[in-house]
Symmetry: C2
Subunit: 332 residues, 2 copies
Amino acid sequence: MFKLKDVANLTNVSISTVSKVLNGKGRVSEKKRREILKVARQLGYTPNYHARTMARRSRILTIGLIVPDITNPFFAKLTKGVEKTCGEDALIILMDSFRNLEREEKLIKNARFFGIDGIIIGNSRVNDELVLEVSKYIPVVVFDKDYECENVVSIVLDNYHGAYSATKHLIENGCTHVVHLGGTHELFVSLQRANGYEAAMRESGFQPRIFATGYDENKGYENMKKILKQGETVDGIFCMNDLVAMGAMKAVKEFGLNIPKDIAIVGFDDDENLCEIISPSLSSVHQPVEEMGQISAKLLFELIKKDLKIKRYVFSPHLVIRQSSLKGRESQ
Amino acid sequence: MFKLKDVANLTNVSISTVSKVLNGKGRVSEKKRREILKVARQLGYTPNYHARTMARRSRILTIGLIVPDITNPFFAKLTKGVEKTCGEDALIILMDSFRNLEREEKLIKNARFFGIDGIIIGNSRVNDELVLEVSKYIPVVVFDKDYECENVVSIVLDNYHGAYSATKHLIENGCTHVVHLGGTHELFVSLQRANGYEAAMRESGFQPRIFATGYDENKGYENMKKILKQGETVDGIFCMNDLVAMGAMKAVKEFGLNIPKDIAIVGFDDDENLCEIISPSLSSVHQPVEEMGQISAKLLFELIKKDLKIKRYVFSPHLVIRQSSLKGRESQ
DNA sequence: CTGAAAGCGCTAACAC
DNA sequence: GTGTTAGCGCTTTCAG
């Protein structure tokens, strides 16, 4: 790696002159400037980033983004959102924990040593103490949780409301026996969604029936099969996520029932790739994930600049209605 | 932000003593060490990353990863692979160009100014000159292309072979009228895939029929519909990617034909999420994307350390056979 | 116009 | 044990 000094020596000027030319500051004779530029290019000179940010007052913002799995569409979209608001003004250091909690904690703990100005923690199951500790050193953005602490801002999704409106939609479309294929309650979100479902059911005078199902397609399939086999009366299903809904659809079809005529279905997350490719297309509660990423970054910047206005940002999901829940129509 | 000097002043020792304590080097009396540690913690002192890497001989590796769209499963997997081999030893700066060529070029051009030690360019349509120029400054990894240049390594996928074996598989399963729904030939990969298809067909004495289709589900659907409407004889389809295959399947089903009995189908990319959720499940040519990411990073490290052994790494895709191509069986 | 010199915050020899 | 000092490579006054 060449340095200013090398260029200076080769052109018989001082390093400060070289610096000026390379930064387009101060005035230098056209002749020298030419020469310097030429030599710098020949050498392939690149200013040392660290030296530069040391010497300058202003530094380029660097934010750490920690996700459990970049391969999961949710986190990919989140990342995209973050990236969008960073634009040209900030670098983002992506750290994937591979769903390994130990690795995740290490990443979070070490982040501040890498010249990171703030950190966004994608996993909503973070250890509270860890967040509190890290926030002593750098600003933090978290999801689905709240902290009293000064240096933390929260992005939350109104899962309750999303579940409520999905259930309501099924009822309004004529379902009288809506069941909920829920998550296991180690996750806060699945509890919230179950609550939303329950509220909508009770409000209409129906008895809620919640089945602890899980989070993937296979779980949805197996559980739905079991439910149908048991002879439960079902004409509507609200699923905790789209994958579970996919599985449930498969089971329903296997029983020779028509979606949505016999059983209407709504998912959660609105992974367009899935929802639109399946037949009939799946209605789902849409999370504005990318936008959540954008806001995360925006609030983080404010926090870094000590110019925070908002400490908690709530997103309301909305229902995207497709074929799977329109009971009026029969799918071919 | 506090600095060593602040801690030193507060504890009445020199900054070098503080440095020693904080880095666990040299010997310092237990009493002072305690005091120093305590004060440092109270202050929330974090060493300045840039100053540190300047003063130290060894610096932490930082690599830039440029992708057109992190939301695309291909690039998400690639990123995961890269991250995996980075492990704890390197930082990765993720840059999404949002499929904006101008932005992408800017990102690539500027990368070297951000203390990046090497760069991985995910987009296989990069401008050659740009790659050559950037490689003068930092090591580069590219995909699907080759450069004479010293400082560039290539990761390529044997698309030809993948297409060949997919087509061969259809033929061996009894198809005599296999068509190819290909891409538009602005993409090199689609040309390679078409060539592989053609070779397999000719080898078996069949006339290849290639339809320039496109890259998404809708294109696959529309084009396949047209082909069937025209009354073409078709009993096998090799699609340029999984999305096109999805669309084609939809069209085939609409015509009341059975997959795979009447028409067998194979896709490309093997996006498991899609291939396994559809019914019948879709056979597809698998690209070891994550592994490609891992190798990219590995080779980049070697390049950075001037210890390069390989200049070109070829991955061979393999066919994953699911239900959509097993002509023997009829799907229900 | 041009260069000497101070300093960004930290580390690592090397004295004391 | 502890402090002094010389850089790391660059930017930026401030003289000349």
